[in-house]
Amino acid sequence: MEGNSSHSKIKVDHLEVTYNMNGSQQINVLNDISFEMQEGGFVCILGPSGCGKSTLFNAIAGLICPTAGNIYLDGQSINGKTGLVGYMFQKDLLLPWRSILENICLGTEIQKKDQAESLSKAKKLIQKYGLSGFENYYPKFLSGGMRQRAAFLRTMMLDNEVMLLDEPFGALDAQTRLSMQEWLHEVWRDSKKTIIFITHDVDEAIFLAEKVLVLSHRPSTILQYVDVPLPEKRSYEMMGEMEIIKLRSELFKIIRQESSKSLGMDDIEIEAGLEKA
C-alpha cells in the first residue's frame, strides 16, 4: 500500500470518521473516502452542507484522528499530525492586534523559523501578490478580499506543499469573489502548490479545479471524481463551452439530490460533536 501511494502527493485511503455523541450515540460523518492527488493538482470538493467536508479537512490537517483508514503525504502516514499541510478557513482569522505583515508571519513564528528570513520572504510575497503598502496596517482597515489574500499568504508562508482551503471566498461579495478566484488561480499556476478547495458553488469549483470531487450526504462517500475539461490557463469565457455546461448541469443535479436528503436537523448535533472533539 505504501508503495502505491509513493507517487501521489496526497492519498486518502479508506478514511472513516465517526463521532461519539454523549458516549452512546454515534454519528458516522465520513465513510470509506479514498482519493489521490498528484503534486501541483487542484481539486475542488463539492457537497451538500453538513456533509462532512470540513471534517475531511480537519482529518487531513491532523486536528482529528480518523476512526479508520489513513492519510498519506508523500507516502508517509500523517494521521493526527498537525503543521504538515496549510489550512485556510472561510473566516480570515487575522489576529486584530497584529499588522498584516505580522499576521502573515504568524505560522513561521510558531514553527520557530528564522524571523529575519521569514520577514523578507513575507515582504516578497506581499509585493508579488498585491498587498504592498498595507504591510503595517491592522487587519480591520482592509477590505474582505484583501484580508483573505493576507490569510492566504499566511498559509503560503509555511511552505507546505499541500494547502487546504475551506470555502475561503464564501463570505465575500460576488464581485470580489470573482476577482479572488482569478487571483487564486494565478497564484496556484505560479506557485505549483497542491490545493484542495472546499466550496458549495458549482461554478467556482469548475472554474478553479482540475478535478472535482463530489461528496454525498452523511455518511459521506465519494459520488464523483471528475476531470474538468479546461486548459490550465482559463478565463470566464470558457465557462460557456458546451462540455462545461454539460458538466455544470450534471453536478448541479447531483448536489440538489443530495441536499434534499439532508434536512438540516442533525447538523446542529454535528456542530456540538465537533466542539467536543
Binding site: 491532523g62 498537525t82 478557513f89 482569522l93 489576529l95 497584529r98 510558531i110 491592522y138
Partner: protein, 260 residues
C-alpha cells in the same frame, strides 16, 4: 493635527460646565451668607489648600502609597486567580463562589479585624484596597481569556502550535482589552478603598485627615482633602487610560490605522 483640534473641542464643554458650577457655588454662598462650617466657598477651599499644602502633601503621599501597593497586590492576585480558573475546571468551580463571596462582605466591617490581626500599619489598608481591586481584574481577565474565538485556536493548532503559544499569541492578547478596562475601574475604586481603610484605623492619609477635620468642624479643610482625593482618582484613571492606549493600539479608530 485635526485630531488635536477635535480633542480640544471635545474637552471644552465639560470644562466650561465645571467652571460654571464653581462660579455659581461661589456667588450663591456669598449671596446667602452660608457659614463656612456648613459649606465653604470654592475660594476658601483653594485658600486652605494652599495654606495647608505641606500637611496635605504628606497625607497625600501616605494614601498614594496605599493605593499603589494595594492596586499592585490586588491586580497580581486577581490575574493569577483568573489564570487558575481558566486553566483548571476544578479550580474554576472551587474558586467561583469564594470570589463572589469576597465582594459581598462589607470591607468596612473587615477593617477592624484586619487591624487587630496585622496591627496599626499599612497592611490592613493594602489588603482592603486589594480586596476591592482583585475582583474586576479576575472577572474580566477570565472573560477575556475564555471569550477567544475557538476558530483562532483551531488555526494555531493546524500550524502546529503548542498550548503555551496559543496562550501567549492568542488568548492572552484577546484578554488584554478586558484587563485594561478592568484596571480603569479598579484604579478608581482603589482610591475609595484606601480612604475607607484609613477611616477604620489610621492617623495618616487623606482619609483620616478628612475624618479629623470633620471632628474639629474644619469643613474647608475637609473639602480640600476630599477634592485632592478625587483629583487623585482622576489622575489614576487618566494614567490607566494612557496605559490602555499604549497597550492596545489596534482598537483605536480613524488615523490610528497604521502601526508605528
Amino acid at each position: 493635527m485635526e485630531q488635536k483640534e477635535n480633542k480640544f473641542k471635545d474637552s471644552l464643554p465639560p470644562i466650561l460646565l465645571i467652571l460654571a458650577i464653581i462660579a455659581l457655588w461661589e456667588v450663591l454662598s456669598l449671596l446667602f451668607k452660608v457659614p463656612d462650617y456648613l459649606l465653604p466657598r470654592p475660594s476658601q477651599i483653594v485658600e486652605v489648600t494652599w495654606l495647608k499644602r505641606a500637611v496635605l502633601f504628606k497625607h497625600l503621599m501616605v494614601t498614594l502609597e496605599e493605593v499603589l501597593l494595594g492596586f499592585v497586590v490586588g491586580f497580581a492576585v486577581g490575574y493569577i486567580l483568573a489564570l487558575l480558573m481558566f486553566f483548571s475546571k476544578t479550580l474554576r468551580k472551587a474558586l467561583n463562589p469564594i470570589v463572589v463571596i469576597s465582594q459581598t462582605i462589607p470591607v468596612i466591617a473587615l477593617g477592624p479585624i484586619l487591624v487587630i490581626w496585622l496591627g496599626y500599619n499599612i497592611w490592613p489598608k493594602i489588603i482592603v484596597v486589594a480586596i476591592i481591586v482583585f475582583f474586576p481584574v479576575t472577572v474580566n481577565t477570565f472573560d477575556g481569556l475564555i471569550s477567544c474565538d475557538p476558530d483562532l485556536i483551531t488555526l494555531l493548532k493546524s500550524m502546529g502550535a503548542n498550548k503555551w503559544q496559543i496562550f501567549t499569541k492568542v488568548q492572552q492578547m484577546n484578554a488584554l482589552p478586558f484587563i485594561t478596562s478592568a484596571s480603569k475601574v479598579a484604579v478608581t475604586f482603589s482610591v475609595i478603598g484606601a480612604v475607607v481603610a484609613e477611616w477604620i484605623g489610621s492617623d495618616k492619609g487623606l482619609g483620616s485627615y478628612i475624618l479629623q477635620s470633620n471632628a474639629q468642624i474644619r469643613t474647608p479643610q475637609m473639602f480640600s482633602a476630599i477634592f485632592i482625593t478625587s483629583l487623585m482618582g482622576i489622575v489614576m484613571f487618566f494614567i490607566a487610560q494612557l496605559a490602555e492606549n499604549y497597550l492596545i493600539p489596534w482598537q483605536k479608530g480613524g488615523n490610528g490605522s497604521q502601526k508605528k
